[in-house]
């Protein structure tokens, strides 16, 4: 059997190419069989919806009315978006929320350095700080709603106990709602940053620190001159994924504040949901989704540019 696969030298060349061609065809077929399911999945659940999205974004249409009522309006939805104050506000909220990304990263880095070098039970701490990440976002949101309750909540109970007369109303106060959401985001995502920073720290060669010890450098100098610069790719990765996750934020906002109070915590995906699934404006909601897509495309492009630069310089 296996002998037939290895053509003897005496065989005619034509026989060899025929056998080779047959094997080649089988190889190609096998390739498509293996990647086929994934390709069909992508086509059906990503590429076709994406094409539909671009089409819908150019229409004034509600999915309830059927395709014959679909009216092409060109870029009207996008020019409407430019004057949509609610959407503009949501975009601003997304931009403000970006502040949570570097703050969370700094905290994660601080904890990662302490956990890697300075404590016992480091595995235990990883699990503790990762807990919010694996918890149901609905359960977490409900608990924080009660903790932040303006009049009965334990947070304000503590604040008034230490003598603060009129503590903020947190999620119920338009000025404090967005910072409260950001606080919660930092709390939820801290574990991810922490674990990725710990992995990054483990990749830094020990002898760099030993050399610095011989020079008598302080811990702060070692952090500034070795740890921080060598973690740049890790930090950059966390920054980019953090920014992208921020623009995609929806579930937490939906269950925690429903965009309120008075639109104070609405974000672009929340507006898209409201237009598309509450007001049933399929066309208008699609144009918002296109904006989201373009923002993420732009960030991915920036990431790609910077990474190329690094590869060339480093």
């Amino acid at each position: 059997m296996s002998q037939a696969r290895i053509p003897a030298k005496t065989n005619a060349a034509s026989l060899r190419t025929q056998e080779g061609r047959r094997r080649r065809r089988r190889e190609i077929a096998a390739g498509y069989v293996f990647i086929g399911p994934m390709l069909i999945g992508i086509l059906l659940f990503t590429i076709i919806p994406m094409l539909m999205l671009f089409l819908f974004s150019l229409t004034d249409w509600s999915f309830l009315t059927g395709y014959d009522k679909l009216k092409i309006v060109g870029f009207h939805n996008f020019s409407r978006l430019l004057h949509d104050q609610d959407f503009g506000q949501s975009l601003v909220h997304n931009l403000i929320m970006l502040l949570a990304v570097p703050i969370g990263m700094a905290l994660a880095l601080l904890l990662a350095v302490i956990i890697t070098e300075r404590v016992h039970l480091s595995g235990f701490f990883k699990v503790i700080f990762f807990m919010p990440q694996i918890s149901s976002i609905v359960a977490v949101a409900v608990v924080w709603q009660v903790l932040f309750h303006p009049s009965y909540g334990p947070v304000n109970g503590m604040l008034s106990a230490i003598g603060i007369d009129s503590p903020p109303k947190w999620l119920a106060d338009p000025h404090y709602a967005l910072p409260s959401v950001m606080l919660l985001m930092i709390w939820i995502d801290l574990g991810v940053g922490l674990i990725i920073y710990i992995a990054g720290l483990k990749n830094i060669p020990r002898d760099l620190y030993e050399a610095a010890d011989i020079d008598g450098s302080s811990a702060w100098t070692k952090f500034r001159k070795i740890t921080f610069p060598l973690l740049t790719p890790t930090s950059f990765f966390l920054l980019i994924t953090g920014i992208i996750a921020n623009f995609k934020a929806f579930a937490l906002i939906k269950v925690l504040t429903d965009g309120g109070p008075a639109h104070a915590t609405s974000v672009i995906v929340y507006d898209m949901y409201e237009q598309g699934f509450v007001n049933l404006k399929t066309g208008y909601a699609s144009s918002m989704a296109v904006v989201l897509f373009l923002i993420i495309l732009f960030i991915t492009f920036l990431q790609w540019m910077f990474q190329r630069k690094w590869v060339h310089n480093g």
């Binding site: 293996f34 994934m38 919806p49 404590v119 608990v143 109970g157 709390w187």
Partner: protein, 289 residues
């Protein structure tokens, strides 16, 4: 003499280091406790009678226990947590299975089989990765309604099962496996199907386990997808059930907390069993979503 003093110095320094390490550990334990306070509050509240919920200072250990009653109310009341659990288990397990199979096959096809168009198709897969699922919610909803996939578990499973993330993760591992294994199997007359099942899958089992646990956790905790694509209460996953329960019993905080604990505990168990894999998976690609 000098060696003796040097030795004394190093032991002193070592002792100083270990004392400092102990202090840092205690400080971190305190920080960890503060970090976990919301969970402790949830747990303690879930076992109290409603009137004690907002007593200040907080009674971390309830004075009056009412755990059995609270949990019984959650599990046998109008909200059918048993059903939500079953739905979540079904959707999460099937999504994970589908995703692992599809991803592992694609990972093998993209690295170990040569065929024309391979790189172009992989590039296509790579580009679709940056399309956020949130952007396609509206058109998918329209598509699902016309395909009869709206308001079905099948629809949810298909959406999660064809995520490209698994392909990337597993491809890295498949790529690291020497071609010698595959070539020698081919000389023995094995086809790609046999090589995939008998040689490749056992070799990448740790990576498959890591990805499977992550996919299971993500599916179990996913709120957005079922929220958009389900409407029948009988199909609700635990996340939707939990949210509906909180909406209905908003003022009974002890019950809502008992429901929250019920929603978190199964995943906590999965996480504690598979923490090594989860942490490895997260640190590997820093993947999420």
């Amino acid at each position: 003499m000098t060696t003796a003093t040097a030795k004394a110095k190093t032991t002193r320094r070592r002792r100083a280091v270990s004392v400092r390490k102990l202090i840092y550990t205690i400080l971190m334990l305190a920080a960890g406790l503060v970090f976990l306070l919301p969970f402790l509050w949830m747990l303690s509240t879930s076992m109290k009678p409603e009137v004690d919920v907002f007593i200040y200072p907080v009674e971390w250990i309830p004075k009056h226990w009412q755990a059995a009653e609270n949990y019984a109310k959650v599990w046998s009341g109008k909200a059918n947590f048993t059903l939500y659990y079953w739905n979540s288990i079904k959707v999460s397990v099937l999504t994970t299975l589908l995703s692992v199979v599809v991803s592992a096959m694609a990972a093998y096809g993209f690295t170990k089989i040569r065929f024309p168009g391979r790189n172009a198709l992989f590039f296509l897969v790579l580009t679709t990765y940056m399309i956020p699922p949130e952007a396609t919610l509206v058109p998918l909803f329209v598509l699902y309604r016309s395909m009869g996939l709206y308001d079905t578990h099948t629809g949810l499973i298909l959406l999660g099962g064809f995520s490209v993330l698994g392909t990337f993760l597993l491809r890295q591992f498949v790529d690291g496996i020497s071609n010698d294994y595959i070539e020698s199997a081919q000389i023995d007359g094995a086809g790609h199907r046999q090589i995939f099942l008998r040689i490749l899958l056992p070799l990448i089992r740790p990576a498959v386990a890591t990805y499977a646990i992550l996919r299971f956790i993500w599916t179990w905790n996913d709120y957005q997808t079922p929220f958009i694509f389900l409407s029948d209460k009988a199909l609700y996953t635990i996340q939707l059930g939990m949210s509906a329960f909180a909406d209905r019993n908003g003022q009974f905080y002890s019950l809502v907390m008992a429901a929250s604990v019920s929603a978190i505990v199964p995943l906590l168990i999965v996480f504690i069993i598979g923490q090594k894999q989860v942490i490895e998976g997260i640190s590997f690609g820093g993947v999420k979503g």
